[in-house]
């Protein structure tokens, strides 16, 4: 397992976005992307960059763990729609895990909850 901050690589973002995202690799071919704060217009580019960087060769499963995300707007939603499309093109299974009811509400408002594989926990996604 390895962890690394993404914000520094994204470049140009304010200091408050440092360590916004953690990346873990719990097993071979599996990547867990973990946003640590709210995902809005100011932070979605960092999440997009992180997902794009990890969607490389050898990856079979990506889990976006939203357990620390209390709030997400449509820019975050757009980022995840883009990620899902990229995952399908790369034959990667993408799971969204641990989202709270408020975050889930935006998926339902946009009628995108059926478009994603949404699971209750990271463990459920790992065993899927």
């Amino acid at each position: 397992m390895r962890e690394r901050p993404i914000a520094a690589r994204a470049g140009g973002f304010p200091l408050s976005n440092d360590n916004f995202i953690d990346i873990e690799h719990p097993e071979s071919g599996v990547c867990v992307v973990i946003p640590r704060h709210d995902v809005d217009m100011s932070r979605s580019p960092i999440l997009r960059s992180a997902i794009k960087d990890e969607m490389g060769s050898g990856l079979s499963k990506m889990i976006v763990d939203l357990g620390d995300v209390q709030y997400m707007d449509s820019s975050g939603l757009a980022t995840l729609v883009e990620a899902m499309r990229g995952a399908k093109n790369a034959n990667v299974s993408l799971y969204l895990a641990s989202m709270n009811a408020k975050v889930r509400a935006i998926f339902e408002i946009a009628k995108l909850d059926a478009f994603f594989s949404i699971v209750d926990s990271r463990d459920e996604a790992l065993s899927a």
Binding site: D40, Y71, S74, A78, E82
Partner: protein, 167 residues
């Protein structure tokens, strides 16, 4: 519309970094008025989406332009159980209000969801040109049930959402 309290008006610059401040303020006041946690989150989302649209489309991502947010509690009346009115104004380029439409949801692609979300969350949404320059968006949300009517008290404090409380 009848007003029970004087409106709150704040000015922000069009930097996405400060969206969180507007969200917190709106959510906090909506709590105070009497909306539940989920409704407060959705109202804050609508404000966030509106401001994002101003920044993205109106100001073409310039981060030093003004945005004004005015919040007015709506009082209970025979016709309604009270609620909140939020007005967002800018000095961006003017467009015809009829041209502001959300896209079809069947077309699954990134972006273009903001107007749809605003209309889905709020009960009343009116875009209009300001008198001289810029646009104005007026949104209203009414409490759903009598027991969720505004409970405005000068002594009550803004509740902290459960997930943000520190034990």
């Amino acid at each position: 519309m009848s007003e029970t309290n004087p409106p709150i008006k704040i000015e922000l610059v069009s930097d996405p970094m400060y969206l969180c401040g507007a969200r917190e303020l709106v959510s906090c006041i909506a709590h105070r008025i009497g909306f539940d946690d989920m409704e407060c989150s959705k109202i804050a989302l609508a404000v966030d989406e509106a401001m994002c649209n101003v920044i993205r489309h109106g100001y073409e991502r310039a981060t030093d332009k003004p945005i004004w947010v005015t919040i007015t509690p709506l009082s209970e009346s025979d016709e309604s159980f009270g609620g909140i009115e939020i007005v967002i104004e800018d000095e961006a380029k003017q467009i015809e209000p009829t041209a502001i439409k959300g896209r079809e949801l069947e077309d699954i692609r990134p972006g273009g969801l903001g107007v749809h979300i605003i209309r889905e969350v709020m009960d009343s949404v009116v875009f209009e040109k300001r008198e001289t320059v810029g646009m104005r968006l007026t949104m209203q949300k009414r409490a759903d049930r009598p027991e969720e009517a505004p409970r405005i008290s000068s002594r009550s404090s803004c509740p902290i959402p459960a997930e943000r409380r520190v034990s």
